[in-house]
Symmetry: C3
């Protein structure tokens, strides 16, 4: 298998995007579009002046009939000539993704549902249920604090019936510096009481780790946001090595933990995947946001990590360009990285092809029991 043959093989891989969100429901004007291609929640200079912005001009423009690297203005003009569902269909049908695992816990009203994404893309979709959102839902509907623990379990059971995974955003709400032990029922009730008294955002560390333990006991793969995200987190508190003792304690439960995104802690994630059999990770979101640097970052994630413990995701949300770009940049990056190992004589072409398939698809098939 030559480099070209590897590129062909990777281009034809049917990917599983194991962590993604819906595409935008309504039309996106320039301001809305620019706000969705940054993780910042603040107004900024043009967000096209970034690796992601250049990558959109480079890789998405041709799908709208434009030359690669046209100006942002020309790109947005072409984009505005199509309606959002037509745009979604164009990009989603070009991703080469057979299965999307959709996190429905974030701004679900702004983006398509799990079923709508399936219709637009022609791919299979599966749900990933966000723990914090479910507790918030229960709290809105259950006024009796003492009934919340059972109500939450019941809610989780019903919500996860057809789901393939769980997700936690404890990284945003508290960071990973929490007590690794499982809280007692009494601790949980006290914390719920406190929370019910003011009903501010769910950020109580007792409740958050109760969710983590409850999620880990559920048995489905548990996805954790790690590292890079918006300004609402403090990056150093999301270093996944802070999870070490908690990972040791939940190991006997047999639940798989999947660290998402991980930048700039992807080497740390690789270490955890190396030493713990129940830890996997991806470089979703990252691969897309770093654009022309995707291969370098991806390669750093392939140092200590066993090749059976790395996954593909886009973490795309909103414009379908992101769903497409995640897949496209990952394909370019993995080809460059593994093709580089082959070119240096360090790997065989067969090794490269097989590992690309593990990361792009087969590890997710095994982990989530889907896709076949």
């Amino acid at each position: 298998m030559s480099t070209d043959e590897l590129a062909d093989h990777v281009a034809q891989l049917s990917l599983i995007d194991h962590h993604v969100h819906g595409v935008a429901r309504g039309p996106l004007d320039r301001a809305a579009f620019e706000q969705l291609i940054t993780e910042s929640d603040r107004p900024m200079m043009s967000t096209f002046d970034s690796q992601l912005g250049v990558a959109i001009r480079r890789h998405c423009a041709p799908l709208l009939g434009l030359e690669p690297l046209v100006s942002a203005d020309a790109y947005l003009e072409a984009r505005s000539a199509l309606d959002e569902s037509e745009l979604s269909r164009i990009f989603l049908t070009a991703t080469g993704v057979s299965d999307y695992l959709v996190d429905t816990g974030y701004s679900g009203d702004l983006v398509t549902s799990v079923d709508e994404l399936a219709q637009l893309s022609g791919s299979r979709t599966h749900e990933v249920v966000r723990l914090e959102a479910e507790l918030e839902y229960v709290a809105e509907h259950e006024s009796d604090v003492s009934a919340v623990p059972d109500a939450f379990l019941k809610r989780l059971e019903s919500r996860t019936k057809g789901a393939v995974g769980l997700k936690s955003i404890v990284a945003y709400r508290h960071g990973f510096g929490f007590d690794p032990s499982e809280p007692s029922r009494a601790e949980v009730l006290t914390a719920l009481d406190r929370w019910y008294s003011n009903r501010d955002r769910l950020s109580d560390p007792v409740l958050l780790r109760w969710l983590l333990w409850t999620g880990a006991r559920r048995g489905l793969p548990l996805q954790l946001h790690v590292g890079f995200g918006d300004s609402d987190l403090q990056l150093d508190k999301t270093n996944p090595t802070l999870l070490t003792e908690w990972l040791r304690r939940i190991e006997p439960l047999g639940t798989q933990v999947v660290l998402l995104h991980c930048y700039p802690y992807h080497r740390e994630a690789g270490y955890l995947a190396h030493v713990f059999p129940h830890v996997s990770f991806d470089l979703g979101l990252t691969t897309m946001y770093v654009g022309a640097r995707a291969a370098t970052v991806l390669a750093e994630g392939l140092e200590l990590a066993p090749f059976g413990k790395v996954l593909y995701s886009s973490d795309a949300f909103g414009p379908a360009e992101l769903h497409y770009l995640g897949a496209t940049l990952w394909r370019r990056a993995i080809t460059a990285v593994l093709g580089g190992f082959v070119a240096e004589g360090e790997w065989s072409p067969a090794d490269a092809g097989r590992v690309a398939g593990l990361i792009g698809r087969e590890n997710a098939v095994r982990l989530y029991g889907i896709g076949g």
Copy 2:
């Protein structure tokens, strides 16, 4: 624009070195020179045995009429044949820097003043005022503790009349793990009392964060030393993500914060610049010290960072070789990095040329309101 054309374009860019110090006043013997090409404050084996040492032999030797990569002995011999101001003129007039922003708060007696640097270089110079040095000055001249807060404000007002920025070295004096809130006048007075009682080095976290808040209220861009420096700091305490909550709190003031150097936390700096509209950063000092590795490190800084938020500086202090080397290595590095993106087909040549101009000059023009 071909790679060669990009290199030409970058070679001709008129840079703004937005954080620098003066050049050495007196002659430098071998020991003094070697001590100034390391951040260590300890005696060492030859400091030429380092990336910076090799870079001096590689890039500075030709300006003294020597072959690139002559021995350190030959280099020092040629150097010793010229007086320091002649050396300064040789290197300073070759930097292609139109404007120097000069931090005058460190060992100002050993190096040229803001005006002298202008004369030697033929470039414009502007002052950056160091907050800690100004409070130390006030403390030397004001014996009444209760008068210090007003005296400091008055001093700051007078010192910053012609200045373009402020600088803090809280990274050295305490690290970034300080209480992010603004201290009350009572807290400040108590802390001043404590400090006046022993007059040791200014390292009280209350006073340091009072300086930061006062600096942020002044409105001028506020430069913060981040990461790599001499043995006087503890590196992990200078991780800029520790500033997150403080950055959130000063955001309403509208002051721009500029993170300096940042190694090995330049990816973290890129994240902060990505999510906060009032955060920029550079890889000054770093680009110079890592020598042949400058392109790699610079590229890591260009992953998440919006291109309007990255600046050029040398942080040179002492031998004018450093002022020259900062600019020269940055030009080589940015050409290699952006030219590489173009060669891979990921960026257009025009993108590369424009982003080089933003980082080398235009972002500083906008941020500091200088240079035009």
Copy 3:
């Protein structure tokens, strides 16, 4: 010196492997072998699915008469046809290592002794004595707590008579977040009392830092495990910058500290080596485990580090493939990195050759006073 000549020069360098363990005593079946090519202490999918696994197939297969990159099965079949001491001889005599510095403090019964390693390899061997193991030995033989401090000093004196260095695994037992001051005799006795009362694993921070101080007072180079290792440590607690204040305090003792492995904190290690004259480091274990990525990681370690402060080690333990692979991957990596600097015109070929010799051999000769 062309790139080929540099490769030849590096290939012929007589290395000093300044931190290594013995080779396996008994035969290794597939399960045992796979468990020894991972740092995980948990059962896993095939550990051949990793950079180290591919590197074994790539670089070790030819020494067993196989094609590079044969399958793991074919490799293991060829391996099983030879007895372990024959395998050891094959790989050890191909390393080009003149001197092994052997850490005897870990699972010494499973691997060859210092003398046996010399016999199998035909190289010189020297002992590195592990501080924690010696205190555990004393505790097994001395029931009177008050006699332990003197007994430990006597034991250390006798054990280090022919030794060339000391080693500490405080990274595993507590992490580097310990009080940097030397504990008093009273503190040590209290801590010993506490430890003697339950005799669990030696992880008391008072005792661990007493060992560090005692080791530093002994004067021999003191090796510290840093960063990546098995699941028994918490990675972020092994960031070597946490040692800063302790390094400052022991500096007057004149003892050299050598940071081992360091991944992913090798840039931090380079910073410490830059600012502290008594700090050196290596990328042992790392270079081997990251396989095809070795050059990239090694290059990151050569940014701030003075070239007189970087060493070579394998940290191999068990299968002699690892002793061979450490040397082989280091040679490939250093050739690629330094040859790259030469190819870019940033270094002279002579610089590259000399620095390879410093790192591979001469720095260890000077530091440990061996090998000549």
